[in-house]
């Protein structure tokens, strides 16, 4: 099973959607990061959506992953959308305060 899968690229909205699969920890964050970055540098989207629908657990490595991708998107002049966050994941997100960052948008 792929650790990250991508929805077909939306040319109109210039939106790339990465769906993460499995628990996010220090071990899995790196291959997830590499897969996302490869696609982002290829497509250069305006919006990077990261979907957490298939992520049962995330520790602080997930926050590092999100912040790193947000920085990449900021350099491209775009933003990051976080979607399908479970209650558990939302609590880690809230602890980090990253929802206050300008180019991060949270979707339910």
């Amino acid at each position: 099973m792929e650790i990250v899968t991508f929805a077909p690229y939306d040319q109109n909205k210039k939106a790339l959607c990465a769906v993460l699969h499995g628990e996010i920890d220090h071990h899995t964050a790196r291959p997830m990061r590499d897969a996302i970055d490869r696609h982002v540098l290829y497509e250069k989207p305006a919006i990077l959506e990261i979907s957490f629908e298939d992520v049962p657990l995330m520790d602080s490595s997930g926050i590092g992953l999100i912040l790193g991708r947000t920085e990449t998107m900021r350099l491209l002049g775009g933003g990051v959308v976080l979607s399908h966050l479970s209650g558990e994941l939302s609590r880690v997100i809230r602890l980090s305060g990253i929802e206050k960052i300008k180019n991060i948008t949270l979707l339910p």
Binding site: E23, D25, H26, H27, A29, R33, L57, M58, D59, S60, S61, I63, G64, L65, L67, G68, G87, E88, V92, L95, S96
Partner: protein, 149 residues
């Protein structure tokens, strides 16, 4: 009345990142007999993940490849529904524990670390104690009481 120890597990694992998920699984399987809620167990797993990751990422940074790198995971269950998880390494230790525990303090910047580990451990458990000695290692003791019906 003093809490009675009802079960205890001790394992020694190599400090490699594969063992982050192994440690989480061991802790949840072992704690299951205390009937935690889904949320309580998820919180504990997340806190354990942070402590174990720190052993792997920080404790042995100065060690040579050939040196032994292990961490010890001890889980104790008490009859009042409390679980105590101890994560210990024999690594470099932490010079200033109080500073290390400050939210967003990190020495791991280039690797996308954000200094949230201790904040997660504190927020997702009832108590988080840290004992550390430079050159000798670090022990983190996490305690959580499960509500049970």
């Amino acid at each position: 009345m003093k809490a009675q120890l009802i079960n205890e597990m001790k394992v020694r694992l190599p400090a490699i990142s594969e063992n982050e998920s192994v440690a989480r699984s061991l802790v949840s399987a072992f704690s299951a007999s205390l009937n935690p809620t889904v949320e309580e167990l998820a919180d504990l797993r997340c806190a354990v993940s942070e402590a174990v990751t720190n052993c792997i990422v920080h404790a042995y940074v100065h060690k040579k490849e050939s040196d032994a790198r292990f961490f010890h995971l001890t889980v104790r269950l008490y009859d009042e529904g409390t679980v105590c998880v101890e994560i210990a390494d024999r690594g470099c230790g932490i010079e200033d524990v109080e500073k290390a525990r400050q939210p967003f303090f990190t020495t791991g910047k280039p690797e996308e670390r954000c200094g949230m580990g201790f904040l997660v451990m504190e927020s997702f458990t009832d108590s988080c104690r840290v004992r550390s000695k430079v050159g000798a290692g670090t022990t983190v003791i996490l305690k959580k009481k499960f509500s049970r019906d």
